[in-house]
């Protein structure tokens, strides 16, 4: 189970529930001033502070009436990272799945944490987005207060503490990489809050396919081009051999004092359209 939204924050999930339950489903999924429907009347309840349990009661009521809850958008991802001679390269595919359906053909899985730190996210999309956003804010305030560049271990500790506190309910599996004053770093973070520090790492449903590529071809002292090529190969291995991964390859190269975010670096699955003018159908067909 898991959910993934795309790069921009959508408040409402794109769930389509048929029939008269459609309106109720939208209520369930959209975050707006809480509308309580009772006997055809609509009331607006404004939050007073503290946690408001009104939605929980309403959701329970709807579930009792037989409404199916929305299915989560799972990433089914291939995310990788490796350390090369000048820094870190992160790679990710761009497919977001909702069960057997591809929900987003070109989503962004490499999230910004700090100018010198990026984080790939697998698992529930909303969780990875929210967690990386939150910790990115923390790091920004920390930078203002200390007047220093953020360190990868700081991001790591903030992330793992957050995930541990939620005991694995925040389903976010992350590959965190960056270059700071102490050098290049690459870490993996699991949803329960454990971490690893590795020279090359893969996560997500396509991790085995990608790891196979890394294990056979990785060596220390890779150059930038060799590293990017290896990361592309690993992601492509995930894209072609794992159903949950697909579409394009995103790359992020981080070196000391510089970062390159190569969005859609490789497009191994181009869409071929038959006619750019669109289709015309004769009437009554």
């Amino acid at each position: 189970m898991g959910m993934k939204g795309n790069g921009s924050n959508h408040e409402c999930s794109r769930e389509r529930v048929k029939g008269e339950e459609e309106a109720a489903a939208e209520l369930l999924l959209c975050r707006e001033p809480i509308r309580i429907m009772s006997k055809g009347e609509v009331d607006y309840v404004h939050a007073r502070g503290g946690f408001s349990f009104d939605s929980c009661r309403r959701n329970e009521m709807l579930l009792n009436k037989g409404l199916k809850p929305s299915s989560f958008l799972k990433t089914g991802t291939t995310i990788v990272g490796l350390i090369f001679q000048d820094g870190v390269i992160l790679g990710a595919d761009t497919r977001a799945t909702e069960g057997p359906i591809v929900a987003d053909k070109n989503c962004e899985k490499i999230h910004y944490m700090a100018p010198n730190i990026y984080c790939c996210g697998a698992g529930t999309a909303a969780d990875t987005e929210a967690v990386t956003d939150t910790i990115s804010s923390h790091l920004k305030l920390h930078r203002y207060h200390t007047a220093r560049e953020s360190r990868v271990v700081t991001a790591l500790t903030l992330l793992k503490s957050h995930l541990f506190r939620y005991q694995g309910h925040v389903s976010a599996a992350l590959v965190l990489g960056g270059v700071d004053v102490t050098g290049p770093h690459l870490h993996t973070i699991y949803p329960h809050g454990s971490t690893d520090s590795l020279p090359f790492a893969t996560m997500g449903s396509g991790s085995l396919a990608a790891m196979a590529v890394f294990e056979s071809k990785y060596h220390e002292g890779l150059s930038r081009d060799e590293g990017v090529k290896l990361v592309c190969e690993a992601i492509c291995s995930g894209i072609f051999n794992d159903l949950g991964s697909g579409s394009n390859v995103d790359i992020c190269v981080i070196t000391k004092g510089q970062k390159e975010y190569l969005r859609n670096h490789l497009l191994p699955n181009p869409r071929t359209y038959i006619s750019s003018k669109g289709y015309s159908f004769s009437k009554k067909t």
Binding site: D133, T134, S137, K140, L141, Y144, H145, A147
Partner: protein
């Protein structure tokens, strides 16, 4: 807010209708080091901006001047300078930074200058009406640039804020303001503004004897 023993506000009205604590806070500001700001809006929109400057007078030559930073950044396009009690300004800067970041996270847009000023002013006002706390002993000059152009705001210990074209606070504020009134023109350039700011600090603030000292040191 405040100690449980002091659930009543320490800032209370005097019979004449004034909040004496705030008046005293303004006195504390008035004895702080001078700071000033100048807004620049020439015809060429690309060349506009805000200049803020302050006197960095250290109590002794032994103080490590690199550790003292009076002008602070709140967001990439908003900065602040203060007159009055340094430690109080630190608290406000910290709170403002957090509020700006929260706004950005919620609305995914950089916080407009007016919003940040309003929220900072709200904090300052809170401390004049809560139990067991005293008003802040600082006035802030918030300088920022957003889609409405360059902006300069002064926030007082009472929580009131004003938008200025040019303003000064702290010691010798009357001299400095008089100098600014004379020198300020609507079609100033940014370099002119920087120059004027430095001149104002030197002439409005330093006595002729001190100017002599500086000149001697330079030579």
């Amino acid at each position: 807010m405040g100690d449980s023993q002091y659930s009543f506000s320490l800032t209370t009205f005097s019979p004449s209708g004034k909040l004496v604590q705030i008046e005293h806070a303004l006195t504390a500001v008035g004895s702080g080091q001078t700071s000033l700001g100048i807004k620049v809006i020439p015809v060429i929109a690309a060349a506009n901006g805000v200049v803020i400057a302050t006197e960095k007078k250290l109590p002794s030559i032994l103080v490590d001047e690199t550790s003292v930073q009076k002008i602070q950044i709140l967001t990439p396009n908003i900065g602040v300078v203060y007159s009055g009690m340094g430690p109080d300004s630190r608290v406000l800067v910290r709170k403002s930074r957090k509020q700006a970041e929260q706004y950005q996270r919620l609305y995914k847009e950089p916080i407009p200058v007016t919003q940040l000023v309003r929220e900072t002013a709200a904090v300052m006002q809170e401390f004049t009406q809560s139990g067991g706390v005293r008003p802040f002993g600082v006035s802030l000059l918030v300088a920022g640039y957003d889609d409405k152009g360059p902006q300069l705001y002064q926030v007082d210990p009472s929580g009131s804020y004003f938008s200025w074209k040019a303003s000064a606070m702290g010691k010798n504020v009357s001299n400095a303001k008089a100098f600014l009134e004379k020198r300020y023109t609507d079609d100033m350039e940014l370099d002119d503004a920087v120059h004027t700011a430095i001149l104002t600090l030197k002439e409005g603030v330093l006595t002729p004897a001190e100017i002599e000292d500086y000149l001697q040191e330079v030579e």
